[in-house]
C-alpha cells in the first residue's frame, strides 16, 4: 500500500468513526485507536497520538456550537480542568513507561466498560437539592434553560469526589488518547449531581483542554506523525460535523445499540491482541 492509498483509506475509516461517534454521542476517539491498530496495523503509540489530535478538533468544533446555547457552566469546567489537565499530563508521562501490550489490554478493558456504560439505564436525576457549602463557596451553582421553558436552578454537590474522578478521566485520556467524555459525564452527572444536559455540554467543553494537555507531551516525544494524523484529524472532523447536522432528524436508538456492540467486539479484540502479544 502506498502513502496515497493509505491516507484515503484511513480518512474514510476516520470519517466513519467521527460520524458514528457524534450520532451516538459516544465519541469517535474510542474506536479510532482499535481501528488503526487492528485494521491498519499502525503502532499503538502513533495511533494514540493521532487520536488525541482528532479529539481536540471534534471537541473544539462541537463546543463552538454548544457554548452559545447557555448550557455549559464555564466555572465548573475551569475548576475541574485543574484535575483533568494534571491527570492528562500524568497519563501521558506514564504512557512512555508502559509496554504497548499493556496499553492494548488497558484499552480493551476501557472499551468493554464503555460498552457496558452505554447500555446501563441512567438513574433518575434528583432535583431541588440543598446547597453544598464548598460548591457554594466556589460559586458553581447555576441556572440553565430547562425543557419546560424558563431557567432552572441547580446546586452542585460532592466537589472532592468529582475532582478525584476528573483526575482519573484526565489520566485515562492522556494514557489512551481518548476524550474520556463518559467518565467526565459520570463525575458531573452522578457524583456532583449536575443536570445531565449541563454535564454533557460542559464535558465537551473540557475534553479539548484535557486532550491539549497530553497532546503537547505526545508531540514533544515524537508520537504525533503528520502523515497519519492528517487523514485522521480531517476525517474525524468532517464525520462528526456531518453527524451533528443530521442528529436532529436521525433515529439514534438502534444506532446506539449497534455502536455499543462494535465497541464491545473491538474491546475483546484489543484485549486478545494485548494478551497474546499480537500488538
Amino acid at each position: 500500500m502506498n502513502n496515497l492509498e493509505f491516507t484515503l483509506l484511513v480518512a474514510a475509516g476516520s470519517f466513519g468513526a467521527g460520524l458514528l461517534g457524534s450520532l451516538t454521542g459516544l465519541g469517535g476517539g474510542v474506536v479510532l485507536v482499535p481501528l488503526l491498530t487492528l485494521f491498519f496495523k499502525v503502532d499503538i503509540r502513533y495511533a494514540i497520538g493521532a487520536s488525541l489530535v482528532s479529539v481536540i478538533a471534534t471537541s473544539s468544533g462541537a463546543a463552538a456550537a454548544y457554548v452559545k446555547e447557555g448550557f455549559s457552566n464555564i466555572r465548573i469546567g475551569m475548576f475541574l480542568e485543574i484535575a483533568t489537565t494534571i491527570g492528562a499530563l500524568t497519563g501521558a508521562f506514564l504512557a512512555a513507561f508502559i509496554s504497548t501490550r499493556a496499553l492494548a489490554v488497558i484499552f480493551g478493558v476501557m472499551l468493554l466498560y464503555s460498552a457496558y456504560l452505554s447500555r446501563k439505564p441512567r438513574p433518575r436525576a434528583q432535583r431541588n437539592l440543598p446547597q453544598d457549602s464548598l460548591a457554594t463557596r466556589l460559586r458553581m451553582n447555576g441556572d440553565f434553560p430547562s425543557e419546560e421553558g424558563g431557567m432552572r436552578h441547580y446546586n452542585v454537590h460532592r466537589v472532592p469526589a468529582g475532582f478525584s474522578l476528573m483526575f482519573g478521566a484526565g489520566a485515562l485520556s492522556g494514557l489512551l488518547g481518548i476524550g474520556s467524555g463518559a467518565v467526565k459525564v459520570l463525575a458531573m452527572d452522578q457524583a456532583m449531581k449536575i443536570p445531565f444536559k449541563v454535564s454533557t455540554t460542559t464535558s465537551n467543553f473540557m475534553i479539548g483542554v484535557t486532550a491539549a494537555a497530553s497532546a503537547g507531551v505526545y508531540l514533544n516525544r515524537g508520537y504525533v506523525d503528520p502523515g497519519l494524523a492528517m487523514p485522521v484529524m480531517l476525517g474525524v472532523l468532517a464525520g462528526s460535523m456531518l453527524g451533528a447536522r443530521i442528529l436532529m432528524k436521525a433515529e439514534t436508538k438502534v444506532l446506539r445499540v449497534v455502536f455499543s456492540v462494535v465497541i464491545a467486539v473491538l474491546g475483546v479484540q484489543m484485549l486478545y491482541k494485548g494478551l497474546t502479544g499480537g500488538i
Binding site: N2, V67, I74, G216, L219, N220, P226, L234
Partner: protein
C-alpha cells in the same frame, strides 16, 4: 446564590460567545493548514510505500516548536501538517488564556487563579515537557 448567577450572567454569556468564535476559527484554520500540508506531502510522497507498523518516533524537526516552524517555513509537507496540528493544540490554550481575561473583567480573583493554574499546566506540556526526555 441566584444573585451571583445574575451578577455574572451577562458577561459570562458575552465571554462564551467570544470563546465559541475563537474555537471555531482555530479549528477551521488548523484544518485548512493540515489539508494544504497534506496536499504538498501526497504530491511529493504519495507513491512511496506507507509504513506505520514499526515505531520509530519523529525526527527532532517535527517534535519541537522551533523545528516545526522551520520545517513549515521550508514548505515541507510534513512540516506544514505539523504546524497545523500545533495550531490545533494551541486553540484550547488560547481559550484558557482568554478566560483569565474574562474572569479579570469580572474581578473574580478565585477563578483567575484556577484558570492560571490550568494555563501553566498546558504551557508546560507544550513547551517544557520535551526536556524531560
Amino acid at each position: 446564590m441566584t444573585e451571583t448567577a445574575d451578577q455574572h450572567g451577562w458577561t459570562d454569556q458575552k465571554l462564551e460567545n467570544i470563546v465559541g468564535n475563537l474555537l471555531r476559527t482555530g479549528v477551521s484554520l488548523a484544518a485548512l493548514v493540515v489539508l494544504l500540508g497534506g496536499i504538498v506531502y501526497l504530491t511529493r510522497h504519495g507513491r512511496e510505500p506507507a509504513s506505520y507498523r514499526v515505531f520509530r518516533g519523529e525526527p527532532s524537526d517535527l517534535k519541537s516548536l522551533p523545528g516545526i516552524i522551520r520545517a513549515a517555513l521550508g514548505l515541507h509537507g510534513r512540516g506544514i501538517i505539523q504546524f497545523g496540528l500545533l495550531l490545533l493544540i494551541a486553540t484550547p490554550v488560547f481559550r484558557v488564556a482568554l478566560s483569565i481575561w474574562g474572569f479579570a473583567a469580572e474581578k473574580d480573583h478565585m477563578y483567575m487563579l484556577f484558570t492560571t493554574i490550568v494555563l501553566i499546566v498546558l504551557l508546560y506540556s507544550l513547551l517544557g515537557s520535551g526536556s524531560a526526555f
